[in-house]
Amino acid sequence: MPATDSRVVLLALCGALLAACAEPPPPVVRTSTPEELDPAVRRLVGRLADEAEAAPRSAEARGRLGLGYEANLLWREAQASFEQAIPLEEGDPWVWELHRAIVLREAGETRQALEQLRQVVDERPESSAARQRLGLALLELGDAAGAVEAFEAVMELEPGEAAGYLGAGEARLLLGEPRVAADLLEKAVELSADPAQARYRLGLAYRALGREEEAASALALGLEGEPELLRDPRSSALREYTVYLAARLERAAKLLESERLDKASTLLEICLDDHPERPTVLNTLALTRLAQDRPDEARELLDRSLAADPEYFETHLILASWATRTGRIALALEETGRAVEAAPGNAAPHTARSQALVAAGRYGEAAASLERALELEVRDPRIYLALGVLYEGTERWSDALALYRRSLERWPALVPAWLGVARTSLALGDTEKAREAVDAALRLDSGHPEAHLLALRLEEEEG
């Protein structure tokens, strides 16, 4: 055997011996009460834990297990898993450190989270996600100057994203620099897909600058925005691993709302496998079936839901919807009547009742039901629009116009409301107002077919 080869063999033997003698990796983190977990979560973290046990020295496997826990709100298990992954990582463990910081923060360990984030940023200064998290943590701790630094780095790293400008704007506001803040926040509004959060802070900056009118508008438009977090290399895995029932139902609701019915259906069928008798799952799938124009299947699901809980309020409401859509008006009226009686202070039964009453041709009563629904729920634009259409249908043009205007005060970008203003203005003979409304709708949605039709009609009337 050549000398070089024997040295290689010797080294390999020593390596193997050292590996055998080295401290064994800690046991994989498992929940102490798996029986309490949602079945989907139990399966996921069970599989990830098995994979980690099969590769006990794999940081990747431990880290993925941590992500599985994190995605399903099991912060402590996630933290422990990331803490196992970090020393095992042969490369740069920064992503596991970043996620350790995230779950520490969620578990209420804000100071430890901050410490970890500082370390990550030192190691990976080019990570905009880490910088953003650091900025947010510093804001929470009241270190506005430190936050400015973190967010300015985000601005440099991600000039096309709103996150840096938004954070820096907030920090400048806290530092009493509204003029600088306003510039930053205007940029954030421009860049953001959902600019509400930036708008609210911009309103505060305008207010501090004495620009009262702009402040009032920005504050009103800035309510209830969603935070925008920059993605890190594991964000996709986190999304994929989010399988707990409430999250899945929320995702299905969004899919249903955006009319991606097949995807909603698939997701709900998965939920149904685990929860065959759960009214919330059965009902949501029934709604999907209704939207898919499969009323028989919807009814079957509703019957199963009623069998599981005969008194479940939502089931009766959906049954009323089913009855309305399938022309069983008497049943719809009966169900909605019961629902209104059971929950007179709740908008939903009144809305359902109005639909049944419309189907029965009782338009005046339907309008009264929707008016009651609107009193109880002023935050749902669909109620305004439905009532507006009902007013139009009964030639209550002035009422309709006033209602559409009211909805636009809340949602200035609500295109159907602008079109309602146009239609009712036309009906009232005010072509100038109708033209303004159509123009506003086209500015918001240049391809809207009804807007174009109304524009044509206006041209005919004017010319």
Binding site: R105, A144, G225, E250
Partner: protein, 569 residues
């Protein structure tokens, strides 16, 4: 300030309504809290409070449920407050019980009145006749009939109750005759004087139009069943305004006043003079909806100006889970600032009042971090250690399961105490014992302050959901000088709201005698200032009643409770 970290939003919005528009029913994501832990930068100090409930004879234990049905009202119950029902000058205790919702009123679960005998608290519920068995939430103490003794209004899930104090140690249920049997789900109540005409009116914060028949199913951590959040029901309740007509009868003026046209998941309410013009405003903390700040206009209508004035939502424009409200001039500019307690994952939020416009100053005040992991309910600003700066107490307790396994179903969390260190600056006070009032975990709800032992410092009543009531005797101020003023009406009953100004060499210190604030609570309405941080005692003190009636006392004595009567009576 809401956490900007979460990618999972708590309540699934638009569920019931969405069903009708072919939306979707959904479940609420976990409203979980992390496990609390002591933190590095905390101030350690001897325990500020000692448990006095059991030694003094208070054995009340709140019950939220006997089964595991998880009815929505269960987790929010637990009220209590202070009343001098026997007119002897010291504060007696009234505690509001929950019960068992499915079975309805049950004599085992009733509210309790404890008479303060100086040495002991004695349960006089039965003889006084105030053991309401409704599923209880909060209370208000007021002299509604102007006869010089303190009456009691009890807020329930279900019909509320007004007890008239007969002046002989007993009460009569006069709800029907007085016309105040609101059957909505009332949580906190503010007695105040609308006009002001001397007749005490009532503002009722109502929560959700919930009934057992509209209960829905929610899941929390890991998919197990849990309590829902309010928006899951899509049924915020309008609040109620009762005008006292001065003849023993109230009129519901909710509709004509504009109050009833606005909806919110109301949990906390306070009456305050927000802009210092001697009129009274109302601030309502709403759970996951924008808070409201009501101003009364010249035509008698009330207008909500919270959004314009910056105290409806946090700095991010997000409506948070408003629970309780503390009021105090923490930045010493003469105007009351507001602290609203919230869910874990949100901070408790401090709105500093600058000339009637609010700024969310949570982070710069030092109040953000430690509140992020806990769910706050009852809360109060008071100068507990008599150093001249307002301190802050927050009673905590979750609204949903936080963890799996073991005591996972428990909603217990430790409370928070912050020491005021300067204008709008606070630092956390660490517990010195794990089993002490600060260290132990319970499900805190109501928090009401009073100087029950008449030693000059504010003590705390804390009512725990599914747990014991705690009476926390103040030890932080022992031996330190103070000044206190008790504003009373012409007939000698305590005024529900009056502003108090102490003129010190360092400037003006404004405080207020206030009944209504916190969560489902009623404070002893007393103006109080600790003097140990001041070079000299205040040279003057001024009491200002709603409407502007004022009494000025020059060179007021320290370490004495001063009773100041409203002029013109």
């Amino acid at each position: 300030m809401r956490s900007r970290w979460l990618w999972v939003r708590g309540p699934v919005a638009a569920v019931l309504a969405a069903a009708l528009w072919l939306g979707c029913s959904g479940e609420e994501a976990g409203r979980s809290a992390g496990d609390p832990a002591a933190t590095a930068a905390e101030t350690t100090a001897p325990e500020w409070f000692e448990d006095a409930a059991a030694p003094l004879g208070i054995d009340f234990r709140h019950v939220r449920a006997t089964g595991d049905q998880l009815w929505f009202p269960e987790m929010s119950s637990g009220g209590g407050g202070w009343i001098d029902y026997d007119g002897d000058g010291d504060q007696d205790l009234y505690l509001v019980q929950g019960g068992d919702l499915p079975t309805g009123p049950d004599p085992r679960f009733h509210n309790a009145l404890y008479r303060n005998d100086g040495e002991r608290f004695v349960d006089v519920t039965a003889s006084a006749g105030v053991g309401d068995t409704g599923f209880g939430m909060g209370l208000a103490v007021l002299d509604y009939d102007g006869d010089g003794d303190e009456d009691l209004y009890v807020a329930n899930y279900g019909p509320n109750v007004l007890y008239r104090n007969e002046g002989d140690g007993t009460f009569s249920d006069v709800t029907a005759a007085a016309g105040v049997g609101e059957s909505a789900w009332t949580t906190s109540v503010a007695p105040f004087d609308i006009e002001p005409d001397g007749d005490i009116d009532l503002f009722l914060a109502n929560y959700v139009a919930w009934s057992p028949s509209t209960e829905v199913e929610c899941t929390g951590v890991g998919g197990i069943r849990d309590y829902c959040g309010p928006n899951r029901y899509q049924a915020p309740a309008p609040d109620t305004l009762y005008r006292n007509d001065g003849n023993g009868v109230f009129t519901d003026v909710s509709a004509e006043s504009g109050i009833g046209e606005s909806f919110g998941n109301g949990l906390g309410v306070t009456a305050l003079d927000f802009d210092g013009d001697s009129s009274t405003e109302l601030y309502v903390a709403n759970d996951l909806m924008a808070n409201q700040l009501w101003f009364r206009s010249a035509d008698g209508r009330w207008v909500d100006e919270a959004i314009e004035r910056g105290c409806a939502v946090n700095m991010a424009g997000a409506a948070e889970a408003g629970m309780g409200v503390a009021v105090g001039d923490v930045d010493l500019n003469g105007l009351p600032d507001l602290l609203v307690t919230h869910l874990a994952q949100e901070t408790n939020t401090l709105y500093l009042n600058h000339d009637g416009l609010c700024a969310d100053s949570t982070t710069t005040s030092g109040l953000a971090m430690d509140s992020l992991s806990r769910t706050g309910f009852g809360t109060v600003f008071a100068d507990f250690d008599h150093d001249g700066w307002l301190d802050l107490w927050v009673s905590n307790g979750r609204v949903a399961r936080a963890r799996l396994g073991g005591d996972g179903a428990s909603l217990d969390e430790p409370n928070l105490l912050y020491r005021g260190t300067g204008p709008a600056r606070f630092e956390i006070v660490a517990p010195s014992r794990p089993d002490g009032p600060l260290g132990r975990a319970e499900t805190g709800r109501a928090t009401a302050v009073a100087d029950f032992d008449l030693d000059g410092d504010p003590d705390i009543l804390e009512v725990n959901n599914q747990g014991p009531a705690r009476l926390l005797r103040n030890r932080a101020a022992d031996g330190r000088p103070w000044m206190a003023v008790l504003p009373v009406e012409a007939n000698g009953t305590r005024t529900p709201l009056a502003r108090v100004r102490f003129d010190t060499v360092a400037g003006e210190r404004w405080t207020a005698a206030r009944r209504a604030a916190s969560y489902c609570s009623s404070h002893e309405p007393i103006g109080h200032l600790g003097l140990s941080g001041l070079d000299e005692a205040p040279a003057e003190l001024r009491v200002v009643w709603p409407g502007g009636a004022t009494v000025v006392l020059r060179s007021p004595p320290a370490n004495r409770r001063l009773v100041v009567r409203r002029p013109g009576g």
